[in-house]
Subunit: 193 residues, 2 copies
DNA sequence: CTTTTTTCTTAAACTATCTTATTGTTCTTG
DNA sequence: CAAGAACAATAAGATAGTTTAAGAAAAAAG
């Protein structure tokens, strides 16, 4: 049997036991995606957790004026899902789209609940995963309510040095909450000193 | 034995069984706090989860210029903690302070881990609690990167109608990421139409 | 390897938001 | 209830960030 990257990833948090591995193993769906493919669109209910094996995805909202606002990027070993839509059975307002060709592993909603019901190790692992995501989100909120575009951009570069080489400045601007034009000015100002 | 508000609160998510109730019951510390008391200050490690029985608290950062930035309010039945400091054993950068006299219940870090180790129902409940907090935070991020102070203020009023009567506009301004002066202008503009 | 699409840069005019300062009002606390 | 502290409103001037538009550069797709 080939090694499952999700199991490997869990081992960084709380390793699964044999029973947990067994019930997980045949509940994973593998998908290969081209660039600019969607795994979630507005009005759909998000019924999956997706784990990125290779590639890069973004989750974003499009506002009334047609502007995109990036909520999250996901690269290798990251999870991505619209948890609001997933847990509250609501239609999503978000897109999840590949920025690069990608290979992902999905667990469908029913199976996620099956896992929760049949081994506490899944509550444990997903608790830790979302706690970490929560902590990062909190830092991001603090930044957006307290600092300038320049600060936020420099922080982004420092925090995600690899990511910033893989995606366009337009995507970064949308993530930090600025226009690409203004980000371009900020970048020039930084370069000029 | 008097009813424990934490157990009651868990019953909204995933009710505890007898064993879980038993191990929880003598691990709760009750505290009465006056207005403007602190349960966390920068440099300290956050070693507790705090559940608000009565009253209102805020968690905030003070930046280099001395400005406060509110990350979270907590009222009746809310949990508040600096999870980053708690889980990563790092000194906190945040204050947690009462805005009103309060009664809280705390579980110390060692006891939190004891609970996780001795009943999966705590992983379950805290997973659900933090998932909900994560979903709310995500909406807040979307707002702050995509809409104006006016939009954010109106959303705050709609979302926390009770809270907005209990706290000052300065606190609201600090939460939505605006100056009190500008919020005052926005409020006038809204009132004038 | 050529065409098409996307991205990056620049700049001027505009708008949202901040800063500072002042004053009256409302809470809090002794 | 009196004094001090915190809060709310207002306004003028300053700054950060947006909008629009256009051209050059780079990347993606055929």
């Amino acid at each position: 049997m080939k090694i499952n990257p999700i199991i490997e990833s869990f081992s960084n948090y709380w390793p699964l036991d044999d029973k947990a591995v067994e019930i997980l193993n045949n509940r994973i769906i593998e998908k290969k995606l081209k660039r600019k493919e969607f795994i979630l669109k507005p009005q759909e209910e998000c019924n999956h957790f997706s784990f990125v094996v290779k590639g890069c995805l973004k989750m974003y909202k499009v506002d009334e004026k047609g502007n995109q606002h990036n909520l999250q990027f996901a690269v290798e070993n990251n999870w991505i899902s619209d948890y609001g839509s997933f847990y509250n059975q609501e239609p999503s307002e978000l897109y999840i789209e590949t920025l690069e060709p990608a290979q992902i592993l999905q667990i469908k909603k029913n199976d996620v609940f099956f896992l929760y019901d049949h081994s506490p190790l899944f509550d444990r692992n997903f608790r830790i995963i979302i706690e970490n995501a929560f902590i990062e989100q909190q830092k991001r909120i603090l930044q957006t309510i307290s600092s300038t575009v320049e600060d936020r951009y420099l922080y982004f570069l420092k925090k995600y040095p690899n990511l910033s080489n893989r995606i366009s400045n337009i995507q970064i601007a949308s993530y930090i909450g600025a226009t690409p034009e203004f980000l371009s000015m900020v970048r020039k100002k930084i370069a000029d000193r």
